[in-house]
């Protein structure tokens, strides 16, 4: 390392070249992965079942177009629009499938007249007279299969539902569709809703907001760094380290043709926090050495800096990198890559910190110490002369209090963490007055709901779902569901049977039920096949009547609702089991829910593994198990409190917020190693415990606090974002930085002192006895 620094230009050139190569790789190969399905572990049984059922019953995400007329939809203008939109949209937008569209224009109206049964669309040509409209109105109002779901109860709105091609790019569709639809406005209001629309808006809003906010974050951080370091040179070096580290991470990613997932936006965040830490430690040591000996030569300074800093920086980086690689145990692919490439970034930053600072001394000379500041004397470790920091006094005397506070905070954090919830809701990401939220609310209030879940029932043998027993139980469960105000509607095979039974028995109310006769049910189904559109039935039951699909329309896409539904279904599990029927689920709302569960599970597991690895590495590095445990404690507290605050403030766990806790590890390891290293060195040099504490606080403590302030200050800017998830990310990063710094400077230091007093630290005997 020392020899390398003697040839600054070739080294700089090499770094520059490699970075340019990486940048070219990124420009060539990097591609953003926005398709959420790519995140899902497709071999997981829940996903396999959902995919199979989705294919079998044609379950897709849907786009909903709601048309609202100020008075009533029953007029020529509105009906022309219903027809035009139903017919034209699938032609203009290939992503919208032409089949299985639900609208007044498409929906099968099962009606009985005095002479028989009729199945057909509500209208084919726009009615011309008021009488025709009145007749249609009556038909709609008397058909429970559409009234309230296709036409609103107040008759001012109607909806067209288009199934969406799986491959559709929701981001562009959302934009183009919203624009296209606007030409149909007036006097009607037209709304575009549905999960894909929200997903699309989210995919464009989040990154756009981040792109707007990130420069402000960086500028704030640069200003803070300059104020703290009072060195333009070192501020720039800090940012260069972060930049090169990030380029290295994304460059290798591009080189291996691994797509950039949205969670990877957390990689730069991590690399900023850690890179700045390395930079500040380097800065601190260099300035310390210069102040100690103002006549120090370039060579001496470089040698001294490297001999003091190589060990802690390398140890910190390697420990962090190995800790991150624990994320590779996750079942979720992007999380695995996040762990891998964060590690690569951290190791690169280590290398750049150890190279660029010495090189800058070589090229630009020994940095000036600048104006003398009052507290400067404190940094010089002259034994017995320095006044104790107030903090040192606390550490030395209030160890028990600090421990107690830490325990209370940790317990509170633990309690809060039990309240943590996973939310896969896309909608929760928008402000209440955002057009997306407004539309969604309107559609949810007016119709059955913008979200859905599919319950798949599978019998042991064919014709299970022709039996009155199975159908009645289904109907019972379905009736219970629609009692829930959050469930706007339920749709299954039972609706067809009930409606046919009703219509073919002269619309007598008592026949709006499942008939207790399997042959009759079979004959109704045959009759529907002969009179209706067989594809409609194919959406609710399979060919052998062995498997059936019940769709619940939900007024919220929150995970808690899905959880509640699954719990409610479980109460029927035994009854269905008696009939040989098993229950699975399908649909994107469900798979997101399961995915979130996996994410959480994997996150907790990999965090746990990270802790273990870090503890073992610290033990090995400092040759003391006590240090291993002590060093890991602040990290554990930080992570616990991080989850606790999320739980208490109702910040849901998402793929982004879940990864923020890794900052606790990355930064925590760094802080711990520098602090312990400094402490042990001073003690071995013969400083007393209190002198060591005092000196460690003014040296390493300062670096830690500077790092925490700069990074926290930068990311706190994100709390001014217009995009709620980015606000959450910003405040959680700030929280983790504060907690890591505080934890290290209090809990870790108190523990070290305690262990030291008990002679549990590997300190040379001469120094050990000095209190």
């Amino acid at each position: 390392m020392k020899r390398i620094t003697q040839r600054p230009l070739p080294v700089l050139l090499a770094i520059l070249l490699i970075s340019i190569l990486f940048v070219l790789q990124i420009a060539d190969n990097a591609q953003l992965e926005t398709d959420l399905d790519e995140y899902m572990p497709s071999e997981h049984p829940a996903f396999v079942a959902s995919d199979a059922a989705s294919e079998e019953f044609g379950i897709t995400d849907s786009i909903m177009i709601a048309i609202e007329h100020p008075e009533s939809i029953y007029n020529v203008g509105t009906f022309d629009k219903i027809r035009e939109l139903s017919e034209q949209l699938p032609e203009v937008f290939e992503e919208l499938l032409d089949e299985d569209i639900t609208s007044l224009y498409h929906a099968d109206n099962i009606t009985g007249s005095e002479w028989g049964l009729e199945v057909g669309p509500f209208f084919e040509e726009t009615p011309e007279s008021q009488e025709e409209f009145d007749l249609l109105r009556e038909q709609v109002a008397s058909n429970e299969m559409v009234y309230g779901s296709v036409v609103s109860l107040d008759e001012t709105s109607t909806i067209i539902v288009f199934p969406l091609d799986e491959e559709a790019d929701t981001k562009t569709l959302e934009k183009e569709l919203t624009e296209y639809i606007s030409r149909y406005e007036g006097p009607e209001n037209i709304y575009v809703a549905g999960r894909p629309i929200v997903e699309g808006a989210l995919a464009s809003l989040g990154p756009a907001d981040m792109a707007r906010m990130f420069p402000i974050v960086m500028i704030t951080m640069i200003i803070l760094l300059y104020i703290l370091l009072r060195s333009i040179r070192h501020t720039i070096l800090n940012m260069v380290i972060v930049l090169l580290g990030t380029i290295a991470a994304f460059g290798t990613m591009a080189m291996f043709k691994i797509p950039v997932y949205s969670v990877d936006t957390m990689i730069p965040v991590m690399l900023i926090a850690i890179g700045v830490a390395y930079g500040i430690h380097m800065h601190n040591t260099i300035m310390y050495l210069v102040r100690k000996n103002s006549l120090i030569t370039k060579d001496q300074l470089i040698n001294e800096t490297l001999s003091q800093m190589t060990r802690p920086v390398v140890m910190a980086a390697i420990t962090t990198a190995i800790g991150f690689s624990a994320l590779m145990t996750s079942q979720v692919l992007p999380v695995r890559y996040f762990g891998l490439f964060s590690s690569i970034g951290v190791l690169s930053e280590m290398l750049f910190a150890l190279l660029l600072f010495p090189l800058s001394i070589r090229l630009l000379g020994v940095p000036k110490t600048g104006r003398k500041r009052e507290d400067e004397d404190l940094e010089l470790p002259v034994q017995g002369k320095i006044k104790d920091h107030r903090w040192t006094v606390y550490i030395m005397n209030k160890g028990k209090l600090i421990t107690l506070i830490a325990v209370i905070v940790a317990v509170l954090g633990g309690v809060g963490a039990t309240k943590i919830w996973i939310d896969t809701s896309f909608l929760a990401n928008f402000e209440e007055d955002h057009p997306i939220s407004v539309t969604d609310r309107f559609v949810n209030e007016t119709f059955a709901g913008t979200s859905s879940i599919n319950i798949i029932l599978s019998g042991e043998q064919p014709d299970t779902f022709k039996t009155p027993e199975a159908l009645s139980l289904m109907a019972e469960m379905q009736d219970a569901f629609v009692e829930d105000p959050m469930i706007g509607g339920a749709f299954s095979l039972t609706d067809f049977i009930k409606r046919m039974n009703f219509v073919l028995n002269e619309e007598q109310d008592e026949y709006f039920s499942i008939p207790d006769n399997q042959e009759l049910i079979a004959q109704y189904l045959l009759l529907y096949d002969m009179s209706g559109d067989p594809e409609t039935i194919a959406k609710v039951v399979d060919y052998d009547y062995q498997k059936t699909n019940m769709t619940l329309q939900l007024k919220s896409d929150s995970s808690s609702l899905i959880e509640k539904i699954i719990a409610q279904v479980a109460t029927y599990e035994e009854d269905f089991g008696d009939l040989g029927i098993t229950i699975t689920y399908a649909g994107s709302g469900y798979t997101s829910f399961i995915f979130a569960d996996l994410l959480m599970e994997g996150q907790v597991l990999s965090l746990g593994i990270s802790f273990l690895i870090v503890a073992v590495l610290l033990t090995l590095v400092f040759k003391s198990m006590f240090i291993g445990i002590a060093g890991t404690t602040p990290i554990a507290i930080t992570a616990t409190v991080n989850f606790g605050v999320m739980g208490l403030l109702g910040i849901p766990l998402s793929s982004a917020t879940a990864l923020i806790s890794s900052i606790a590890i990355g930064i925590g390891v760094d802080y711990a190693i520098h602090l312990i290293e400094h402490y042990m060195n001073r003690r071995n040099e013969g400083f007393s415990i209190s002198e060591t504490v005092n000196e460690t606080i003014s040296h390493t403590g300062k670096a830690i606090i500077f790092n925490a302030i700069a990074v926290m200050g930068g990311f706190i800017v994100l709390t001014f974002s217009v995009f709620p998830p980015n606000r959450q990310v910003g405040s959680l990063i700030a929280l983790n930085m504060v907690l890591s710094a505080l934890g290290t400077l209090s809990v870790l230091l108190v523990t070290l002192v305690h262990l030291d007093k008990k002679h549990r630290l590997p300190i040379k005997t001469a120094a050990a006895n000095k209190e």
């Binding site: 028989g116 073919l504 042959e519 004959q523 002969m530 009179s531 559109d533 067989p534 060919y543």
Partner: protein, 259 residues
């Protein structure tokens, strides 16, 4: 609406030797196909195998009687023999040669009632199969513009290739190509095209001659768009039976296939 001949269409017809020496036109070919003698009445057992895109098959056995009277009114009576849970479910239809809608009744034995059901669009699926009502009848040639594209050999028989473009556009096909056996006037193959793609294809697998009338007893309609297919096979075909005049009534519907 043109008269529907659900069964009539299955029996593509008899040889009427061409007397034309002059080059034949597409129009004439299709008119000859339409004009074949189908006998007075017909009785047959029909097996319908409907296969969905997942390869699952629904089988239905049907017995049917059909008759066309002098006015061109076609009456048809069908009963399901299997599956067991729909056995004896009956279907009666009367099609008129003019634009009147068909009359259709169904009898559900479990409900013990005859119900009238609404006339279907000609392009709707016939009993959930890949055949449409239109396919099950013989399409009146004046509904399309026909062009003779040429001739080809299929299984050693010389066939005309006729392209037909519907005069009134529909969403199922905008062009059909039919392969018609020269001088026999039955089709061996029919392709349905929509927007430049072949969406459905009818293939005749075998024919037999009964009382001098050619009967297609095995045919498959493939829906390339949906990946589904329906096979219809016929057995016990007989023509010109001595039928009770009251057979095409709701009374017979309730009695079931006992005639």
């Amino acid at each position: 609406m043109k008269a529907k001949r659900i069964i009539g269409g299955l029996i593509l017809l008899i040889a009427t030797t061409s007397l034309y020496a002059v080059p034949i036109t597409g129009e004439q070919i299709m008119q000859n196909v339409y004009d074949r003698d189908t006998g007075n009445n017909m009785q047959a057992n029909l097996r319908m195998e409907i296969m969905n895109s997942r390869g699952q098959v629904r089988e239905r056995d049907i017995i049917q009687v059909s008759q066309e009277d002098q006015d061109g009114i076609e009456k048809k009576l069908m009963f399901f023999l299997s599956p067991a849970d729909v056995k004896d479910t009956g279907f009666l239809s009367i099609s008129y040669p003019d634009d009147r809608d068909d009359d259709q009744w169904i009898y559900l034995p479990a409900l013990r009632r005859v119900k009238r059901i609404a006339a279907k669009n000609q392009n709707d699926s016939f009993m959930g199969s890949d055949f449409t009502y239109d396919d099950m009848g013989t399409r009146n040639p004046n509904k399309d513009v026909h062009t003779l594209l040429g001739t080809t050999m299929i299984d050693g028989q010389e066939c005309y290739i006729v392209e037909s473009i519907p005069k009134v556009s529909n969403k199922e096909f905008d062009r059909t190509v039919t392969y018609i056996v020269k001088d026999q006037w039955y089709g061996l193959n029919k392709e349905y095209h929509y927007k430049g793609e072949m969406v459905r294809e009818l293939t005749i697998n075998s024919l037999e001659s009964i009382n001098g009338i050619y009967v297609i007893n095995d045919m498959v309609m493939e829906n390339h768009d949906k990946g589904t297919q329906t096979r219809i096979t016929m057995s016990d075909v007989s023509f010109d039976n001595d039928l009770d005049s009251g057979i095409f009534t709701d009374r017979q519907l309730k009695m079931g296939p006992r005639f």
